[in-house]
């Protein structure tokens, strides 16, 4: 069994009047691309800064590669960080920026030059080595910040919202590039982001945080398909949440009375009781003009209230009985022609096994 590269043990950090990080524990494995995902103010950046040693006076243990970081100052920790503002030194050239971390720690000048060249090569900035930061674009500055951190050969690279300042196109490009870099170098990356797409597309595992606590840690697919809580389900992608009350549990699943749906049976292998939420992703729903056969699954009759057209798909909002609102993703293929009109009566249906039961 491989040993974790980072172990977070009961880490807590309080600011006056607020708990920024609330008793968090988890492990990160070597070579993992790990994402801390959550809305702003959830404590993800604080946790990252605690790993870097920039935030002190928290409690609990942060263990990096078997060494407890308690009392180890930021400048001697085997981790390096890419800052949100990139923090490229404005008075130094690209080359001096990248070499800075080696120079201040007394690496011989003859060793610095080749390492800096390698790092610049890696982020494709060799041609700009003699430029000053004010002659670079945002994306280029970020490459410098990356090279500057990677040249130190850290055990773990920390990235604080690295793509938030880039435009959409460049962000997509850098996502691929970061994933590629991580595979080439083979070190652990921890990225902090509030953008679920970013986390889903890049990370091997994602920790979803809320109010200082970790709500769920899982791979992208599991997180999307099997969220554990309303918060995670709602935060990752879009989801329909339907209030329901459990009336019985059997081998076939959970029988419950759901708002606007009546009595439905949902396959479920855990326990469930009291009031729950049924959750179903908009793309799992289908719309039809005729009532579907009653044995084909769960269905609800409703009226199309709004259609948002996105080219390949349309987001359709259907108002059903009992005030139930359902969002449906419809592929704009031939079947959809003529169906998607405001005020039209339709049936929304889905397979029971696409339904999640969220106990909360």
């Amino acid at each position: 069994m491989t040993k974790p590269i980072i172990s977070i043990r009961n880490v807590t950090k309080r600011y006056p009047g607020v708990v920024a990080v609330d008793d968090v524990s988890f492990d990160i494995m070597p070579n993992e691309f790990f994402a801390l995902l959550g809305p702003s103010g959830c404590g993800k950046t604080t946790l990252l800064r605690m790993i870097a040693g920039l935030e002190t006076s928290g409690t609990g243990d942060i263990i990096v590669d078997g060494q407890n970081m308690e009392g180890v100052p930021a400048n001697t920790r085997p981790v390096n960080m890419v800052f949100q503002s990139y923090a490229v030194f404005p008075h130094m050239t690209v080359r001096d920026n990248v070499g800075y971390g080696l120079k201040v720690t007394g690496v011989a000048a003859t060793d610095i030059a080749p390492r800096v060249e390698d790092a610049l090569e890696m982020v494709q900035m060799s041609a700009m080595a003699d430029r000053k930061p004010d002659q670079l674009s945002g994306g280029q500055r970020q490459r410098v910040a990356l090279a500057r951190a990677l040249v130190k050969r850290p055990k773990v690279l920390l990235l604080d919202e690295p793509l938030s300042a880039l435009d959409a196109k460049l962000r997509e490009h850098m996502q691929l590039e970061l994933a590629r870099l991580q595979q080439v170098i083979g070190i652990t990356f921890i990225i902090v982001t509030h953008d679920q797409d970013e986390a889903l597309s890049m990370a091997d595992r994602i920790a979803v945080m809320e109010k200082g606590g970790v709500r769920q840690i899982a791979g992208p697919e599991e997180l999307y398909e099997k969220p554990h809580s309303r918060f995670v389900a709602d935060f990752i992608g879009k989801i329909n949440l339907i209030d329901a009350t459990v009336s019985g549990v059997s081998k076939a699943g959970v029988t419950c009375v759901a708002r606007g749906l009546g009595t439905v049976v949902v396959p479920h292998d855990g326990a469930a009781s009291g009031s729950i939420s049924l959750a179903v992703r908009p793309e799992k729903l289908t719309l039809s003009a005729e009532a579907p056969p009653s044995d084909s699954g769960i269905s609800a009759k409703g009226v199309i209230r709004d259609v948002a057209y996105y080219g390949d798909v349309s987001n359709v909002f259907v108002t059903c009985d009992d005030g139930l609102e359902l969002a449906v993703n419809v592929q704009n293929d031939r079947a959809a022609v003529g169906l998607l009109e405001n005020g039209r009566e339709v049936y929304a249906s889905w397979h029971p096994s696409d339904t999640l039961i969220l106990q909360e």
Binding site: N75, Q84, A87, F89, Y100, A145
Partner: protein, 291 residues
């Protein structure tokens, strides 16, 4: 079709002919005397009235006037000493105010800036009162063991210490304010990045913070240099018979009429101040890159 006359906006006053004229007159009133002062330093006449031909002999005359040169040297010496010390104190103050939080910080900032707003004449009188008290107290030790102390402070340039101290007192807040303003634009992530990359606190200060605030420090230094060089009021109250500065000397000379050699010496002073100011403005120009 009706001709459209574009209405002048409230800030388009640069287009009003009357305001242009007014601005021009203001410019003349401000700068003509200085131009005249410089021009007549080259006038071959004992009086500053009629132009009688070009000469540089009054520069030579000023140069050969021992008391004028002495006053000039004193002024420059005081300005240099004042600049060095005021820059160090001012920069340290700015860093302290920028870096740390402490109770009554706003009050401390206000008090620090007091020498800037207190009327100079009050500063002058206050310093005079202080010095006469200290002087009185020191004379009590005339025969005592610290007699050597008084001796020491009558040797040049230590005899300028009293004036220099007063100059430092009023010029260091200017340095502090300029450096502080510069530091406000500092991105704290730069400091964290430096530490994250392995630099110690001191290395971070030297390699990251200091280069960033340097334009402010240089601008503050030049500001305190020019402030000290041309200060009259406070110096007048603290200068002794042995310790004349240039502005005080000029004042005593003009009471007997302005002679061209004063014009010449003043021109030299203007040139020095002008250069210092130009450098200060260059240094103050905001850098295009921040973080």
């Amino acid at each position: 079709m009706a001709r459209r006359t574009p209405k002048r906006g409230p800030l388009d006053y640069g287009k009003s002919p009357w305001l242009i004229l007014f601005g021009f007159v203001t410019f003349i009133v401000l700068y003509a005397p200085i131009a005249q002062l410089i021009a007549f330093s080259f006038n071959d006449s004992k009086r500053n009235i009629v132009w009688r031909g070009f000469t540089t002999k009054y520069y030579a005359k000023a140069w050969n006037d021992a008391s004028l040169v002495e006053a000039f040297t004193n002024s420059i010496t005081i300005a240099v000493m004042c600049t060095v010390i005021a820059t160090i104190i001012g920069t340290a103050t700015a860093l302290w105010l920028w870096r740390f939080r402490f109770p009554a910080k706003a009050a401390v900032e206000g008090i620090m800036a007091l020498p800037i707003v207190i009327p100079e004449i009050c500063m002058g009188v206050a310093v005079l009162v202080l010095y006469s008290r200290v002087g009185h107290w020191m004379r009590g030790f005339e025969s005592g063991p610290i007699h050597w102390w008084n001796e020491l402070f009558s040797i040049w340039p230590l005899n300028l210490g009293a004036i220099t101290a007063a100059h430092i007192a009023f010029s260091f807040p200017f340095v502090a304010i300029v450096v502080r303003a510069r530091l406000t634009g500092f991105n704290r992530e730069l400091e964290e990045a430096s530490k994250d990359l392995g630099a110690s606190e001191w290395q971070t200060f030297r390699n990251v913070v200091l280069p960033f605030m340097m334009p402010g420090v240089v601008a503050g230094a030049l500001l305190s240099f020019t402030l000290s060089l041309d200060d009259f009021v406070i110096t007048f109250f603290t200068a002794g018979p042995e310790t004349n500065t240039f502005p005080v000397k000029v004042y005593s000379l003009v009471r007997r009429g302005v002679s061209p050699d004063i014009n010449a010496a003043s021109t030299v002073l203007i040139v020095i101040t002008l250069f210092a100011t130009i450098i200060a403005m260059r240094m103050q120009a905001p850098s295009k890159t921040e973080g």
